[in-house]
Symmetry: C2
Subunit: 506 residues, 2 copies
């Protein structure tokens, strides 16, 4: 160490030694700052940010915003007042995803119990890998997963929280592969026949990303036809599996979707389970978006057959507004497949000579090492509202959707893509100049340009945010998702009026 | 929708319609709860949790803790006071990772600016995939990555924050593979010759996990010898690469380590870069733990040659205490490799007809879809202390390490594993009954049992937490990592005294 510490520590009070007596962090000062920052967060993000009299976004072009934020990182630190101003600025120019007029994604709204759980998670700064470091959260995650599995219909099983639904889906793909071909873990895919994954043409893109990442390749994701509502066709699935086999590929996984991203369709799980059983394939259900219907007596039927799946991905951070991220992968397996598939048995972390039962060291189930605690926010919220409260939220979301569909049907110039199964309401706004012109050759081209223009206007005025996209041969349409717990009927009335206002001159 | 909404909405004020007028979340009540929870967090986690007069952990066996926490999830919600008590209980039984006597992992301590950034992140609940939803954070992430790349020595490049170092390492492996064999993204690894990864025998287990997950297989991770200090031997690397080639494998990646998990060793990057250049291999540097030395003029030399790497993983959540998680993958590439490798071009999210420049929609660089904001906490902290402040923290950690090494050398019964390069101090405590018995046949067996017993005692008394592990033929030894910004010299004095106190009867 001599070269690193040229001054001897012996017999003198050197500068470095005096410094060693003082920690670098001043707790009192730090806590004061945190307290002030908390007040700003309360005011700017949670009060103003959920107030319909305030904008949902404050649009700035990237170049201008860069200047406004003064992002540059420098050699010297800044005074406290400037730092607090920075907290304000970040809040000001960020999108208010908890605002009642934020309909842009499959997450929205705020739940204060969940948010309290998130603040506590951050303050505790726990890494969820061993019982010794995360005793509360090892047990809590286990209990939350148990509660979720129970809704799926499993009295036993396994599971883990992952950093998002895409990763949960990847895990399922890796587990399905490992179950069929355990040697792949050691030997890789080299020299094996092609493995094939089956999923609907409207499933989430993460299935392709997973196939690419896991070395399976996107060409080996076989897309199954959907019906008019966007639900996987089990007959086509069966045929595509047979075709794949006849071409020398090895089918190993069917990834179903409950709540497709755009249309909110639910694949017919029972019929798909029959096909999976027939061909002995792993059945995964990507219910990242739709899974929360399991809380509702009225709507759980949409996932009839989910208990026959091998794995289910379900993100409470979407419909239940727990906050990003909260994505569970649930497994029916009771044979330690998750740990066997992912473990590396690192001796520095998962020592076998610990003084407690090391089965509580759950970290080796994950391909992550550091893993955030994602269960506390959901657990605290569940304690706060109960399963019944979650059921109410789901039921209310469907009611809101029904109300909105009704309004859209009544309003001139609005055209539903289809009757929704779920809370994704897809529709076109037909501006006055295009009404009655359906027969014109340029109708579709002109209609395709409507949503992007209205989107630009709503964002520049900051009045709301709604997503749009094309789908197959259907040109750009709006997708409005209504599930946020902060919503009320007037917000939906507003959306229709506002789209009309923004697009009436088009 | 008829079956879902049996009551007509027309002409009547049904119950469901009245309900629609009221949001499910009461903001005033919720904010009050959050405010009270914040006070508890301040008191229990940040005041008591960093107070050396308080315990670092409150050990309970899993069964007992389950009962104490009453984890069960029920149908009905609970009253506010009980929920606040739950916040207290979670804090009480959780490990105080910010406590000055928490030396158990490669993360520890608290920084209040970072924590303010984390609370703001949680409140804003932003998903970092498009500029329209995350304008501030798209730009901020870019700037933070630029600042980090600058320290690596790159004026250009790319990068992304990942959910932990293991995932960053996986990304590097996937990018290296894609660069060599872009068709793997579409076609998978089937029929290809074996790909080989090279890493030192003391590298992090995530390299093996990545190889398993990516379909490459753990057998295709070739472990390179290390020198006495745990640093990769470049001569052995060269030989192993040649051997692999001669056996028909295709080497494609060398994963170096800066700051190995146990001993804190830094691989000799310049010498390894020579080997990588010679064989045209992707050079990845896993600097998850050690990367922060780049801030220090005095210690950055440990990573001499890092600028020659293709990719670097670096976790500020470790040495800089930004809080979990903050892990950057930095790339030298300027040809959009990250996006090309990971993109799926989903039309519902990454529309090309947006009104702004879609190059700011960074989400397709990730294999995640939902991605948390991990840059804000680091950015705010950087603004608060400046690069100079980070340099001070790194330098101080080395000073603490030097002081501790000095004390260990002076104290009877303590035996250093080696002179450390970094702030991992590895040592045995030799209890009185074993001193001078090195020649006995059962010496190693008995020594191996010392650390686990002392660990059990420290946790049950709650006085501190220090990790231990074996390494190769070296039996269980303590690994003390000293870098937390809340540390002062007396905490290190305490550790030695306390180990002695706890182990003197062994």
């Amino acid at each position: 160490m001599a070269n690193m510490f040229p001054d001897s520590f012996e017999g003198q009070e050197s500068r470095i030694l005096r410094d060693l007596n003082e920690p670098l962090v001043d707790h009192a000062e730090g806590q004061l700052f945190l307290n002030d920052a908390f007040k700003i967060i309360m005011e700017e993000v949670l009060c103003k940010g959920t107030d319909i009299k305030q904008k949902v976004c404050e649009w700035k072009e990237p170049e201008e915003l860069s200047l406004l934020l003064d992002l540059e990182l420098r050699a010297t630190g800044e005074p406290r007042e400037r730092l607090l101003q920075r907290v304000k600025d970040v809040a000001k120019y960020s999108i208010k995803t908890s605002h009642p007029r934020f309909f842009n994604q499959l997450f929205a709204g705020v739940d204060y119990h969940a948010l309290a759980g998130r603040f506590l998670t951050e303050a505790l700064n726990t890494n969820l890998y061993t019982y010794e470091v995360a005793p509360v959260f090892v047990l809590m995650e286990n209990e939350v997963l148990r509660g979720m599995r129970q809704l799926v219909g499993w009295t036993e099983g396994d599971g883990i929280f992952c950093p998002g639904g895409s990763v949960s889906n990847m895990y399922a793909m890796n587990l399905a592969r490992y179950q069929l071909l355990p040697d792949v873990k050691r030997q890789g895919l080299f020299g094996l026949p092609r493995l094939n994954v089956f999923t609907s043409s409207e499933s989430h893109y993460s299935v392709k990303k997973a196939a690419a990442f896991l070395g399976i390749g996107t060409d080996n994701v076989i897309f199954v036809k959907v019906d008019d509502g966007g639900r996987m066709d089990p007959v086509d699935l069966d045929e595509k599996i047979k075709l794949a086999k006849s071409q020398g590929a090895v089918p190993f996984l069917v990834s179903c979707t409950c709540g497709t991203t755009v249309r909110g369709a639910f694949d017919p799980l029972d019929l798909i389970a029959d096909v999976c059983e027939k061909h002995k394939l792993w059945m995964h259900v990507d219910a990242a978006w739709g899974g929360s219907v399991l809380f509702s007596k009225q709507h759980a039927h949409l996932m009839q057959g989910v208990n026959r799946a091998n794995s289910v991905a379900w993100n409470p951070h979407k419909m239940l507004a727990t906050g990003l991220q909260c994505s569970a992968l649930l497994l029916q397996d009771t044979m330690n497949l998750l740990r066997n598939c992912h473990s590396a048995n690192a001796t520095y972390l998962f020592q076998q000579d610990k003084f407690y039962d090391v089965k509580f060291d759950v970290g080796d189930k994950s391909v992550q090492c550091s893993r955030k605690v994602d269960c506390l926010k959901f657990w605290l919220m569940w304690k706060a509202v109960g399963s019944n409260g979650f059921a109410d939220r789901v039921d209310k979301a469907f009611s809101h959707a029904g109300y909105l569909v009704d309004q859209i049907k009544k309003r001139e110039g609005f055209c539903l893509l289809q009757e929704p199964d779920f809370v994704n309401i897809c529709f076109w706004f037909i501006p006055p100049s295009l009404r009655g012109k359906e027969g014109n050759a340029d109708y579709q081209d002109r209609l395709a340009k409507v949503a992007p223009v209205i989107k630009e206007r709503m964002m520049k005025q900051g009045t709301m945010m709604v997503g749009y996209q094309p789908l197959g041969n259907k040109v750009n349409f709006f997708r409005l998702v209504v599930f946020s717990p902060v919503l009320s009927q007037k917000d939906m009335d507003f959306v229709i009026d506002e789209i009309e206002r923004l697009g009436n001159d088009l």
